[in-house]
């Protein structure tokens, strides 16, 4: 009887030249309508200058149960953070 419109994920680039950011999702029959609906649902107060829409079904996500092993390699590499190194105060700002 009813054929539900597919779900789309909405990404918006704000005023200040930052990356497109995920803001939420909505249902629409096709990409063009998804953009029009996204304008009304997610940019009623000038929140954006550009909209991307992606069918939710087309997104592949990492699995939450892999969180440990997936991100473990970077855990042990604390020297990637500048605070790992002690620079004497006399040297000044670095």
């Amino acid at each position: 009887m009813s054929s539900q419109w597919p779900l789309w994920e909405i990404f918006i680039r704000g005023q200040h030249g930052l990356n497109h950011r995920h803001v939420g999702s909505l249902h629409a029959p096709d990409a063009e309508m998804a953009i029009r609906n996204a304008r009304d649902v997610y940019t009623r107060r000038n929140e954006g200058v550009s909209i991307w829409v992606v069918k939710s079904a087309d997104i592949t996500a990492s699995s939450p149960s892999d969180k440990g092993p997936l991100f473990e390699p970077s855990n042990s590499k604390v020297y990637r953070h500048p605070t790992f190194f002690d620079i004497p105060e006399e040297v000044g700002h670095m």
Partner: protein
């Protein structure tokens, strides 16, 4: 609040010792203030309770458009009309954010609609009261959105990620709603004697239904204790009601209007007002479907859904045909 009397299926809050290892790990994450995301393990009761609560909240936003929509064509000036239109459109947006949050828990939009339409899911009792004159639109923004804000601000910290993010978006938009309502009340309260009388009448009719929005006293409720442990409820109904009264009384005084409660007085000791409870038998009647506008509200939603079916199906058929042609 927009979600009243949400059941949890819980028989009491389990202690950490009584929980399975999975449940314990989950509860400890919630206690640490971590956000729970849709694909992660969660107790079935948590998932079901959230679907009910977020669904009820979403339905309230959508049904809540009706009493105010009633006045869009009759707003006194073009500016008031444009403002009210924008406010009501925001409420549609709120409903959509919340439906999407509920859908991440594995329920479909159509199922949620179906359950609203067949009465197995509720919406807030407040929207079953009529908006009889223009001052009612002021009272709704001031009191109803004011009560909603009371409930929604703490929910920004709720444990379920998508719900919390929806609440953050919604809260950003709500203060416009309350201010536009109070602005109407200021105009009316400082207007002609007839306008003042309309403003007082609107306050008289909306005061107790607004207090009912927070739900009955929940000191002893099992559901409430479980929801608080899961951080899908942050304050008790009574705490929020007290805060609402304390905030609203000075606002009414500024307007020169009288809160319709002879027992209302400042209690120095508790640092808040004492006030009369609403008539809870009326509340339960409204929840059971016997309020002044229940049939009209639900009827309008069902009609909109049914009348729009050909359009939704038409757009889908067009998209499918177009998609096939592109693929070929």
């Amino acid at each position: 609040m927009y979600a009243q009397m949400v059941k949890t299926d819980a028989k009491g809050v389990k202690t950490l010792e009584e929980m399975s290892p999975e449940e314990r790990a989950f509860q400890e994450r919630v206690d640490r203030g971590e956000k729970i995301e849709p694909k992660e393990w969660m107790p079935e009761g948590y998932r079901k309770t959230l679907v009910r609560q977020i669904g009820q909240h979403a339905h309230s936003e959508i049904v809540g458009q009706l009493p105010e929509g009633n006045w869009i064509t009759r707003a006194p000036t073009l500016e008031r009309k444009a403002i009210l239109l924008a406010k009501v459109q925001d409420e549609a947006g709120h409903g959509l954010y919340l439906y999407c949050a509920a859908e991440t828990l594995g329920v479909s939009r159509d199922e949620l609609m179906e359950k609203l339409h067949n009465g197995s899911m509720k919406y807030s009792s407040i929207f079953n009261y009529p908006t009889l004159n223009w001052a009612d639109i002021g009272a709704v923004g001031w009191l109803v959105d004011g009560a909603a804000i009371m409930n929604q601000v703490p929910l920004q910290r709720t444990s379920f990620g998508p719900y919390s993010r929806a609440m953050i978006r919604i809260c950003k938009e709500e203060s416009f709603h309350q201010r536009q309502g109070y602005d109407i009340m200021m105009k009316m309260a400082k207007g002609t004697p007839e306008q003042r009388a309309m403003a007082q009448d609107a306050l008289n009719r909306f005061w107790y239904p607004s207090l009912m929005m927070f739900g009955p006293s929940d000191k002893d409720s099992v559901h409430s204790a479980q929801s608080i442990a899961w951080k899908i409820k942050i304050n008790t109904n009574d705490e929020l009601r007290q805060k609402f009264v304390d905030q609203t009384v000075p606002q009414a005084e500024y307007l020169g209007l009288t809160i319709p409660d002879d027992n209302l007085r400042w209690n120095e000791e508790k640092g808040g007002y004492d006030f009369s409870e609403p008539d809870w038998s009326e509340f339960f009647e409204v929840i059971a479907g016997n309020g002044p506008c229940n049939k009209e509200r639900l009827g309008a939603r069902v009609k909109a859904w049914e009348d729009g079916a050909w359009f939704r199906e038409g757009l889908m058929a067009h998209a499918e045909k177009h998609g096939k042609r592109q693929a070929a």
